[in-house]
Symmetry: C2
Subunit: 128 residues, 2 copies
């Protein structure tokens, strides 16, 4: 359904808005639900489970320099109560310096209340 | 269901067996079905659609040196007719030289006949 498609794209954008806002509690809320979660940050091994994934986000949101994401080429795919979005993260670091492009895949699972939980993220640097 | 879980893990292994066998027709069969497909090879931008994705596999299977994959840490997640597997691709090049580790996510969608179509692959090198 087009409504699902739009809701998944909005959930995807919320992930980047929350990163930019550097808000660990809001990030944790996006990932909270019934599904097992995993996360592969660029160059990292894959992390599994609430503890490891949420700790990584707290660390990134607390310690990393302020990053701005210009998200392009979003494409959403919905299969029942699962969904995924592919997109490009065009990253600007402090002062607007170009920080490269990350090819990203974000996975979502529909919660019982109809909202979409983030259950997976995989980002990898695109070689220039 | 445990049976779904096992079937998805078998479909995941088939992806690597087919890569090792360097068989473009078998690779194309794994990706064929109703779902839109995408593929993010390590360092590449994300490719979308049958033409671009299958061309990339033909090129890799025809031109790349012979690679052997020791796949570890497979974890399967099934949500209705969608599924994904995270795993590590431990790559051995010709002569058994270690070629590094790729963190991979493979996405699947259940076909009408109950088999699992590969609909997405995202691989990224793990920094040492």
């Amino acid at each position: 359904m087009a409504a699902d498609h739009d809701a998944v794209l909005a959930a995807n954008q919320a992930l980047y808005d929350t990163f930019e806002a550097r808000d660990p509690a809001a990030m944790e809320a996006l990932w909270t639900g019934d599904g097992d979660i995993f996360c592969t940050h660029p160059g990292w091994p894959t992390l599994h489970g609430d503890e490891a994934v949420l700790r990584s986000w707290r660390s990134l949101l607390t310690n990393a320099q302020h990053l701005q994401f210009i998200v392009t080429n979003e494409r959403a795919f919905v299969v029942g109560d699962a969904a995924w979005v592919t997109c490009d993260e065009n990253i600007l670091a402090d002062g607007g310096a170009a920080g490269g492009t990350v090819a990203a895949l974000n996975l979502f699972r529909r919660r019982a209340d109809g909202t979409w939980q983030v259950v997976g993220h995989h980002g990898s640097p695109v070689a220039r």
